[in-house]
């Protein structure tokens, strides 16, 4: 089904950045991640995508497949290119940003996807559950496990460690 340009553009503006970051979490450099995301949305414009029951779930699935295919075709290693920032934050050091990126990369795929959908695509657990066709409790558990792992991994990061110590 062919989508209108306005509809696709609105989706792209809302989810494009999060999807590119999601693609980067699979080890793509930012330019390649942008290409993968653009490809997904241009396919929508060309009408080559099937009817979407859940657009957001489709985007994440298509970007995940695109990132994996990118690695297959380019035969690149899945390690994150050094120094490529796909997250930004005011007042955070580059070191801290890279640490968060690496921590996200080390999450299992399904947990990582829930984190992206929840934090950067702004979906509720119910919406994520519908998008992933997974029970809400499972989604909530994945998110909780993901946050635990991130906290554990980031506890050694200077800024996070300082914040934790200050709170204690």
């Amino acid at each position: 089904m062919k989508r209108t340009a306005e509809e696709v553009k609105a989706w792209y503006e809302k989810h494009g950045a999060a999807l590119a970051a999601f693609a980067c979490s699979y080890g793509l450099d930012f330019a390649a991640a942008e290409d993968v995301v653009q490809h997904v949305f241009l396919n929508l414009l060309r009408g080559s995508a099937a009817e979407l029951r859940s657009p957001v779930a489709y985007f994440y699935g298509a970007v995940r497949n695109g990132a994996i295919n990118f690695h297959r075709t380019r035969r690149r290693e899945t390690a994150l290119p050094e120094g490529d920032e796909w997250l930004v934050s005011r007042g955070k050091s580059r070191e801290e940003i890279l640490a968060v990126q690496q921590a996200l990369q080390h999450l299992p795929e399904e947990q990582r996807e829930v984190v992206f959908l929840r934090i950067w695509s702004g979906l509720t657990f119910q919406e994520i559950a519908e998008a992933m066709e997974t029970p809400v409790n499972t989604v909530a558990s994945r998110f909780r496990y993901a946050l635990d792992k991130l906290r554990e991994r980031l506890s050694s990061t200077p800024t996070r460690r300082d914040a934790n110590e200050a709170r204690a």
Binding site: A5, V8, K9, Y12, E13, G16, A17, A18, A20, A21, F30, E34, V37, Q38, F41, L42, L45, R46, E85, W86, L87, V88, S89, K92, I97, V100, V115, R118, I119, W120, R144, L147, L150, R151, R160, A163, R167
Partner: protein
């Protein structure tokens, strides 16, 4: 209800945001360029088709033109006395109308070749001697 460490971590992650991506407009514009390019190709194909059509039409019309030219030449040979035709005109006549050409040759041969049947013909004088 969420535990405090979870809320804390979620809030911490929310302080980060994904890096902005380039606009989709440029890609859409590329799509429009593709569409324009298709129109150009269509226009080029139309021009090519018109050129081919003209060539075919001309090829069909040319034989008629040649026939007309030959007819005109025929008229020209008819207007000229047959015995006065030049070799070029005779050649053209031979190509256009072989019967007429035979007729012209017969007429010219009566004037240029010796008459063997007249009273003062060479053959008769030799026979008398």
């Amino acid at each position: 209800m969420k535990h405090e460490p979870e809320q804390d971590m979620e809030k911490y992650l929310s302080e980060f945001r994904p890096r902005a991506v380039r606009a989709l407009e440029s890609e859409l514009a590329n799509g429009y360029r593709v569409a324009r390019f298709d129109w150009q190709r269509l226009a080029a194909a139309a021009v090519l088709f018109a050129a081919l059509g003209t060539s075919v039409w001309y090829a069909q019309v040319k034989p008629d033109h040649a026939t007309q030219t030959a007819g005109r030449q025929q008229v020209q040979t008819e207007r000229t006395p047959l015995k006065d035709l030049s070799s070029v005109q005779l050649t053209r006549l031979a190509l256009a109308d072989s019967e007429k050409f035979d007729e012209v040759l017969a007429e010219q041969s009566r004037e240029s070749l010796p008459n063997l049947r007249g009273e003062r013909s060479t053959l008769r004088i030799l026979a008398q001697e």
